[in-house]
């Protein structure tokens, strides 16, 4: 019986994860041991400390390239870059969560999720200041899971991370204070479909394991090179991709997205739209580039097709939406397609601009969409947020600033120059064309032209239509939301006008290890 030699853990390299997970655990304890009165501020602080700490850690770790935890985790450029992104987006989302100025009941989250919606107790609680503060630890767990997701160098870790990020989200989407039925419905749908999809991922994992005898990405890579793609393995790959694409809400695995985005509390939707996308694509990139980078002939056509499907579905279905959140959901589906266009841009043996471009796009899209959803929380009427488009008519006359900001974010999503959206699109399209995929790019451009229509429709409504007499009011945001909007708007502008620094960062970070 030799001594068990424990796998070496480079705690330094794991610092970002430790920060967030630590914050999460502390948060749970706080729920247990602090009086309800002080919970909210404390929880917010903890969550912020965790995320901000994680972000700082990633900055400090910049440049490290090591495989740790017995090869299960790869702390490399992409991992750190995306972890940093997720940390920032997470922090901003937490700020959105913590907004107390807008809702008369001082929070967008339910007082007690366990109380059945519409019951007497529920009506009592509807106006109480009580809040389900578990939202913050849950968020922290989700953020941690996402960061783990991007660093997973091992299919098993990837699966665990997938669940760690998903399960809290399932709950969070059910925690809306207003329109609880919709919120709960969103939770159920998200949960059932999420579990269903992860089952596919898991089966794929099993098949790949069977085909290669290992779940370590590096080993898989070797195996792919040596024995080529056996049917077993490609099917496994396919199912893995299915699981990931579900999270990235790529058509045809997008069907949950509109419903969940619409039903979930807007802050949570923002969080999902921004951070989950980043995490999911982090995993996609790692899986495809590291494990199957040498066998790109297997997945390239697949991604090609998925990209087109996603862009078309997102752009076309978005045209007829009447709900802002739902419209943004379809926009996120379309953007998933654009991101895949970047994924295509993997050059021979890992070179190529695709990785950097995709990562940059993730940053720009995440920040912009977060800001857009943040604005949605401001436009309210009697029963919470007024998300129906007709209610946005003539908003420019009610609140020029909100209208201007929204238009700016929408133009960014449409990819108009001098916004981050354009720089991002340019980057991924360039990558794709360099990889010779110009038909895909043309499709993408036409799709974005179509998508531009529904973005414009909102602008038209806000500026060129007359407000309905009993239209919604525009709430005065508190400090948190204000910060979020300021940061996202500034980022959208800066990344559009002077993207140089971030682009360089992305390029320098675009090297996988393991």
């Amino acid at each position: 019986m030799g001594a068990i030699e424990a796998p070496d853990l480079s705690y330094a390299a794991l610092a970002p994860l430790l920060f967030v997970f630590g914050a999460a655990c502390v948060g749970v304890l706080v729920e247990a041991f602090t009086p309800r009165s002080v919970r909210h501020p404390v929880q917010v602080t903890i969550a912020l400390v965790g995320t901000v700490g994680a972000f700082v850690a990633t900055l400090l770790l910049a440049g490290t390239e090591e495989v740790t935890a017995a090869g299960a985790l790869a702390v490399d450029g992409p991992a750190l870059f995306l972890q940093g992104t997720i940390a920032v987006l997470g922090a901003l989302s937490v700020l959105l969560f913590s907004e107390r100025a807008l809702d008369p009941a001082r929070s967008a989250f339910v007082a007690a999720a366990a109380v059945p919606a519409g019951s007497v107790r529920d009506r009592e609680l509807a106006t109480s200041e009580r809040v389900q503060t578990e939202a913050y630890p849950l968020a922290s767990f989700a953020i941690g899971g996402m960061m783990l997701f991007t660093a997973a160098n091992d299919l098993l870790i990837m699966f665990v991370a997938l669940e760690v990020l998903s399960l809290p989200l399932y709950l969070l989407s059910g925690l809306a204070r207003r329109r609880r039925l919709l919120s709960q419905e969103a939770a159920v749908k998200y949960f059932l479909l999420g579990a269903f999809a992860s089952a596919f991922f898991l089966y794929g994992l099993a098949l790949v394991y069977g085909a290669t005898g290992s779940v370590r990405l590096s080993d898989v890579r070797v195996a792919v090179v040596t024995e080529g793609g056996s049917a077993l393995m490609v099917i496994g790959l396919g199912l893995l991709v299915v699981g990931l694409m579900f999270k990235a809400s790529v058509a045809p695995f997008h069907s949950w997205t509109p419903d969940v985005y619409q039903g979930a509390p807007t802050a949570v939707t923002a969080f999902m739209a921004a951070a989950t996308k980043v995490a999911a694509f982090g995993a996609v990139l790692r899986l495809l580039y590291v494990a199957f980078g040498t066998a790109d002939w297997t997945w390239r056509p697949l991604v090609y097709a998925l990209a087109i499907a996603s862009m078309v579905v997102g752009a076309v279905l978005g045209l007829t939406q009447t709900d802002v959140k739902r419209m943004l959901a379809y926009s996120s589906i379309a953007h998933a397609g654009f991101l895949l266009t970047g994924v295509i841009g993997l050059g021979p043996d890992g070179t190529g601009y695709g990785l950097a471009a995709t990562m940059f796009y993730l940053v720009t899209y995440g920040l912009t969409t977060l800001g857009a959803f943040g604005l949605v929380t401001l436009v309210r009427d009697g029963d919470g947020e007024a998300t129906h488009l007709s209610q946005w008519a003539g908003l420019a006359q009610r609140s020029p600033l909100v209208a201007a900001l929204m238009s700016f974010f929408l133009l960014a999503l449409a990819g108009i120059p001098l916004t981050s959206g354009f720089t991002g699109k340019f980057a991924v399209f360039r990558a794709a064309i360099e990889a010779g995929a110009w038909p895909l790019v043309v499709t993408a451009l036409v799709a974005s032209a179509i998508a531009a229509f529904f973005y414009l429709r909102v602008v038209v409504l806000m500026y060129f239509s007359d407000p309905a007499p009993d239209g919604p009011t525009v709430g005065v945001p508190g400090m948190p939301t204000t910060i979020v909007l300021a940061v996202t708007a500034a980022a959208t502008l800066v990344l559009g006008v002077l993207p140089g620094a971030v682009l360089e960062l992305a390029e320098s970070a675009a090297v996988f290890v393991g």
Partner: protein, 99 residues
């Protein structure tokens, strides 16, 4: 018995689970079907662990069980809450959000 049989059995179980998800209305049952899918995967993993002579498979199976347990907790919580609201666990009743 060759490992193929185990794999096929697992595949069949997985399919049954998947089909179950599609055909059953009760949220609980749907969820159970998903659990069935997970377990069929476990079977696959064990089989491959055996065939490839590596232990990862079995380790992973353990992980999966844990995760599944966690999933159950979350899932039942959600389903319960909506059941108490709607007095129904049918997944077809929850379609306010559409189009």
């Amino acid at each position: 018995m060759t490992i193929t049989n185990y794999l096929v059995l697992a595949a069949i179980l997985f399919t049954i689970g998947a089909v179950g998800v599609l055909v059953r209305r009760n949220a609980i049952v749907v969820f159970m079907c998903i659990e069935l899918m997970l377990n069929s995967v476990n079977l696959t993993l064990i089989t491959f662990a055996r065939s490839t002579g590596t232990v990862e498979g079995q380790v992973i199976a353990l992980f999966v069980m844990v995760v599944a347990a966690a999933e159950v907790v979350i899932g039942l919580a959600i389903i319960m809450s909506i059941y108490r609201t709607r007095r129904s666990a049918s997944v077809d009743d929850v379609n306010l959000l559409k189009y």
